[in-house]
Amino acid sequence: MKALVIDDSRGARIMISKHLTRYGFSIHQEPRATTALEHLRTSKIIYDIAFVDVFMPEMNGIEFVREIRKKEEYDEMFLFMVTSDASEARMREAMEAGADEYFIKPVEPSALLVKLEMLGFKFSS
């Protein structure tokens, strides 16, 4: 399982990557939505899932989701927002843009696992 983690906070990237590695994901991290788009374009890697922060400079996470959902080759990639913004308006905006999940920080590992299982990811117990 391959995961792309996009967050402008290095600490947040490390934290979520640590949990995901334990669940068996191989991780690539990007500090910006813009650099993540560039990485996807040049590497041609199709990730199983991208964990995307909402508030980032240059391009925010919801704009990133809109960009990805325009591209047919990423149809199968889950887009999982991870943010501290618990407002319903933001949540709706993200889901309408094409996000599959909206997860509010702090990242509690077992809660994260349940949401990933609901998306269809399988983990050995």
Binding site: A99, E101, A111, M118, S125
Partner: protein, 276 residues
């Protein structure tokens, strides 16, 4: 001897023995010797909160003490998530309910969530049914949650969950469909609530079921019981079920050999069907 203030001196082993015996006898919970930390974690804070400073005397008289139920509540585990163990819900929706509906298209389906805690499992079942079998009207299904803890049952009945609790497993698409924002959390909508009911009951005692159930969820409950008690509970569950009714247990639980249920597995979905 321990003399940890503010309590009267007590022998730790004696106190733990009294606690073990009470929990085993009243609710069938087994405390293993390595769980002596439960004294500091739960018993002593509970006593301090109620201004009781002689732990041994309290436990010796616990069976006639008005705080008996409250002590049980302090030792029952309430940690719970929405949609915990998604394979169970898939098994229910993809196999168990379609079969039941095929065999009994007109009868009301009854589902029991045993030790339902604050209601997450009950509402997860209701939401999953509403979402995947929308043709099943709310009058045709009832999900009954039972627990011995009054405080969590009250919360379950209210159906209000904080943002933190909602974050624990509830898919975002369902939040919009089945919850209404209220304060700093969300309340379950009436069209889900009307599929549910909550009853206070102790698993070990007689459950006041007037009708039998088609499906029972008894997940991560039996692990707290001795093997002999597990078998007694399985017999009891089989009696609460309709013929060929279905029991779901926790995904990592292994049932002791018993004549009451046979194990059925479809891919990674596992359930137990009553043999009678």
């Amino acid at each position: 001897m321990s003399t940890s203030s503010p309590f009267a001196p007590y022998d730790r082993d004696e106190l733990f023995g009294l606690l073990q015996s009470f929990l085993l006898g009243s609710v069938g919970i087994v405390l293993h010797p390595k769980q002596q930390f439960q004294l500091e974690l739960r018993l002593l804070p509970f006593l301090e909160q109620h201004n009781i400073f002689d732990p041994v005397a309290f436990l010796k008289n616990i069976r006639i003490h008005p705080l008996q139920d409250d002590l049980v509540e302090a030792f029952t585990t309430n940690e719970t998530y929405f949609f915990r163990g998604p394979h169970t819900f898939q098994g229910l929706i993809k196999h168990v309910l379609p079969n039941l509906l095929k065999e009994n298209p007109s009868r009301k389906l009854r589902i029991l969530s045993a030790a339902c805690s604050s209601g997450q499992e009950v509402y997860s079942i209701a939401i999953h049914i509403r979402s995947h079998i929308p043709s099943l009207e709310h009058q045709k299904v009832e999900i009954c949650g039972i627990d011995i803890d009054r405080a969590v049952l009250k919360k379950a009945e209210e159906g209000w969950y904080s943002q933190f609790e909602i974050n624990r497993g509830m898919p975002t698409k369902y939040i919009f469909r089945y919850f209404e924002r209220e304060g700093r959390g969300y309340r379950v909508k009436d069209n889900i609530k009307q599929m549910t009911k909550f009853v206070r009951s102790n698993l070990l005692h007689r459950f006041p079921a007037q009708e039998l159930f088609d499906v029972i969820f008894l997940r991560n409950v039996l692990i707290y019981f001795s093997e002999a008690e597990q078998k007694r509970q399985l017999l009891k569950m089989s009696k609460l079920l309709r013929p060929k009714g279905v029991l779901f247990v926790g995904s990592t639980e292994i049932l002791p050999k018993n004549p009451y249920f046979k194990r059925i597995q479809k891919r990674n979905m596992v359930w137990y069907q009553a043999t009678t």
